[in-house]
Symmetry: C2
């Protein structure tokens, strides 16, 4: 027995959500139909409004409903620091740390095999933004993956040519981690990056 | 830093989905905004169409776009068998087994503490449906939980008063399970329900 056309269409559409497979999509669709139709209609409206109303901040390229986002407009933030990340989710992660400088959001990382070069991920816009602001340091907070490292090094090279200081977030043991469980690469970084203990 | 109003509204709305908490909802919202806006708009449309277009079959009470569902209309099914389940998802589960009789879908199970009595879960409609059809056996396939068992026993009692045979799905070891891992109640049912091996 198959699902009726409207239910099947709903199940297929739910599968665009990250981490949602066939079985989860079925459960979501039937549960909404059985228990929360008004919530589902509100979700439909919220989806439409967000997709049509949310664009990108023209300064930091993060998601924003306004031309320039609240974070870029905030006059209390440190104008000498810029943090470069791979996506809008990373901005929310870095914000949790208490960082209070400015941001620039790339469209992911360099990935030549997928045809994603500097233009595709927004590096020209990053350079224009850096030229416009008077930053004393640019923190490269791309992910510690092969592609993220390559992207950070590429940007650092461009900035060095312009005489700007670029820094990279530290690699090492995550807090609460265990030496015997962590991978060799991380432990090698943790050893190489060791610092004197201030007493 | 907080999310902008439209993104926050989308995140809150996504949380009606079963198994989706704050963190997952954030990831879903930002991923759709960054990577698949047209998919999200299709999802919004599918939600609206399904919530407005899908009702309940007037015979079996399962989800259906038509007054009577395809399964109830199918002339090739066995009209002497009726299977009673707790929800539409259970119909799809029982269908996988090759069962080819009719169905009746309750609205969950009896739960006096939550104020759910026989009327709330649709037992009068079940009795009306049984009276209307010429069923020789009613299979009670409510879940093997305390509430599901109570519901099955309640219905069996009503049917016995009308001289109808009600049967209950078997309890025992799930296929591929291990004796040392299964709970005592299940194993007790498996022992009590033992059957001669046909050679």
């Amino acid at each position: 027995m198959s699902f009726s056309p409207l239910i099947r269409q709903l199940i297929d559409s739910l599968r665009i959500l990250p981490g949602v497979g066939q079985k989860t999509a079925q459960r979501m669709a039937l549960q909404m139909l059985e228990r929360d139709r008004s919530g589902a209609l509100r979700l439909a409206q919220a989806l439409t409004q967000a997709m049509e109303g949310v664009g990108h901040c023209k300064q930091c390229r993060s998601l924003s409903e306004d031309e320039v986002c609240q974070l870029c407009l905030d006059p209390r933030r440190d104008d000498s620091l810029m943090c470069v990340v791979e996506g809008p989710m990373d901005v929310y992660a870095v914000e949790q740390t208490g960082y209070r400088g400015r941001y620039f959001v790339l469209k992911g990382h360099l990935s030549p095999l997928d045809g994603l070069g500097p233009e595709a991920i927004g590096i020209p816009e990053l350079l224009a933004r850096i030229k416009q602001g008077g930053f004393s340091e640019v923190i490269l907070a791309t992910n510690p993956t092969v592609e993220g490292e390559a992207t950070a090094h590429y940007i650092a090279q461009l900035l060095a040519n312009k005489g700007l200081i670029a820094s990279r977030i530290a690699h090492g043991m995550p807090l609460g981690g265990e030496l015997e469980l962590v991978d060799g690469g991380t432990l090698a970084h943790a050893l190489a990056g060791r610092r004197p203990i201030g007493l």
